[in-house]
Subunit: 310 residues, 2 copies
């Protein structure tokens, strides 16, 4: 496993990467920065990465679950996401009116007025992280070994950007453990190591760095500093659009009781459960591979292809 | 291909189907009617159905594209969805405020007040149909043969229901043609026939019926009657939760110029392009199979298994 970054090169080297992705038809424009269609060739890489992470999760004996890209609002409320990342969330709003309200709605659409003000919050929000729906499945007292889940799916984060590695709607693949403080920390540490190895084996120049989540605002800066100081979050980074500021393509996060407490999850001895997750940003990994090995996966090094399509 | 329904049996026969799906762990509760997690065994059936539809689309030479579960709002505006189905759409709203607004947001969350009023419409809405993002790809003048796309993904429709076949977030798999009135109608007709055959070959008792979309309100009733009279929409139905009211698991729809006009798509001779789509509700098909052949796909008839996993 390589842990050193490539020698610094000017970001200009990467300036054309975005436009080459569109020219090659791997990504398709939608008119929105960070929202893209994908070719089947691109998705084939994503599917191979999902399968690769799945083989590791299967070795660990994880339970595979799938969830839609929207999350129950009641679950969202328990995650405290609004306190830390209000700017990233997406709330779903719906129309519950009758014929007369509909006429007013259409009048406003026609007049380019604020028709959305006639909507009401739905029972769901967009999923911000793949792991959120698994915590309600654990409410109650855990068995000895805790729980281990594999889950992947679409996430939404409202952060429009021209960086193709910062998409608003993207795939995330997670292996999540809920157990004791010790087992949660161990899952984070082992997952980080295994993840870095898997990605380095694909020919990516990986480095591990202590990191912080993008907590919002003035108070957020303090929370970020605390998270960083305690090394709760580790990221695996690799150059995609910049050598000097490599992109996080995976992270390993020890949540402490952040989910155990609000979702009332207990260890066998009755204490609050802790959790951790190892998250693979499969879209970012796909982009890192396209950057490192070229835009045609059929011509990637045989060793990389064999690992992806064994 | 069977086109007759089973002999009528009391709906009680199906009353326990929903609860058996949860007991078997195929679907997972989220606390929201119509929003469910899924086991990997369930998703394996969905993946097999996606692959089966994909083999047909590949025979036809369709271009495969993938899109996220959210759609550019500008594209949504062009679909006129708000006029016909305001009650089904999901608008995404986001927080664009600063520190002070965030404090007010959290104050309202704490007070159980309307914090969502502090949000603003995002650049995206939830995708209501898998095919919507392909029409902007066609803007301009088509070549002779028109365009053919295969696209599948998550759709959202706000219609909370305890019927497991009426989910708010579900998979849809479409084969979409954009071309002349003749070629669009032909795609609709051939797709209906082929789809019915594929599903009957899986041991489902299929019938074809002229249908209408669930247009909203008083005006909607008139639109529905018109659509029905002109047989623009055909559905393939099969019993899932009721024999008397079988469930639509696929549809074949001739849109006329509904998309060609707003997306400025022209045929080679400069007239407005017409379009049609053949849509497979893969979640509903999976449920119909589970209903028809039992809850353990490993024990389904060999002929069905071979067609799904060739």
């Amino acid at each position: 496993m390589s842990t050193g970054l490539r020698p610094a090169t000017p970001d200009a080297e990467y300036a054309s990467f975005r436009s080459r992705l569109f020219e090659a038809g791997l990504l398709l424009e939608t008119g929105i920065d960070g929202l893209y269609g994908r070719s089947d060739g691109y998705e084939e890489v994503v599917r191979a990465l999902d399968a690769m992470v799945g083989r590791w999760a299967s070795e660990l004996g994880a339970t595979v679950v799938h969830f839609p890209p929207v999350l129950a609002r009641s679950t969202f409320d328990h995650t405290n996401y609004l306190q830390s990342f209000p700017d990233l969330m997406g709330s779903v709003h719906v129309f519950r009116g009758g014929d007369r309200d509909h006429a007013e709605l259409l009048r406003r659409v026609e007049a380019d007025a604020d028709w959305q003000a006639l909507l009401e919050p739905a029972e769901v929000v967009l999923a911000s992280a793949a792991c959120h729906p698994v915590y309600p499945l654990c409410t109650g007292r855990l068995l000895d070994s805790g729980r281990l889940f594999e889950i992947h799916g679409w996430c939404f984060r409202h952060e429009p950007s021209v960086d193709p590695a910062r998409q608003q709607a993207f795939h995330m693949h997670e292996v999540v453990h809920v157990g004791t403080p010790e087992s949660a920390e161990q899952h984070r540490d082992r997952g980080l190591e295994r993840g870095l190895t898997m990605l380095a084996d694909l020919g990516l120049d990986m480095a591990a760095v202590a990191a912080n989540d993008p907590f919002f605002g003035r108070l957020g800066a303090i929370m970020a500093a605390g998270q960083l100081e305690e090394a709760l979050k580790m990221e695996g980074v690799t150059p995609i659009c910049s050598t000097e500021r490599p992109t996080a393509v995976m992270s390993a996060n020890y949540h402490r009781d952040h989910f155990g407490l609000p979702f009332s999850i207990e260890t066998p001895d009755g204490s609050v459960a802790h959790s951790s997750c190892v998250a693979f940003g499969v879209d970012r990994i796909a982009l890192a591979l396209l950057h490192a090995h070229g835009l045609d996966p059929a011509r990637w090094p045989a060793e990389v292809r064999t690992r992806l399509w064994p």
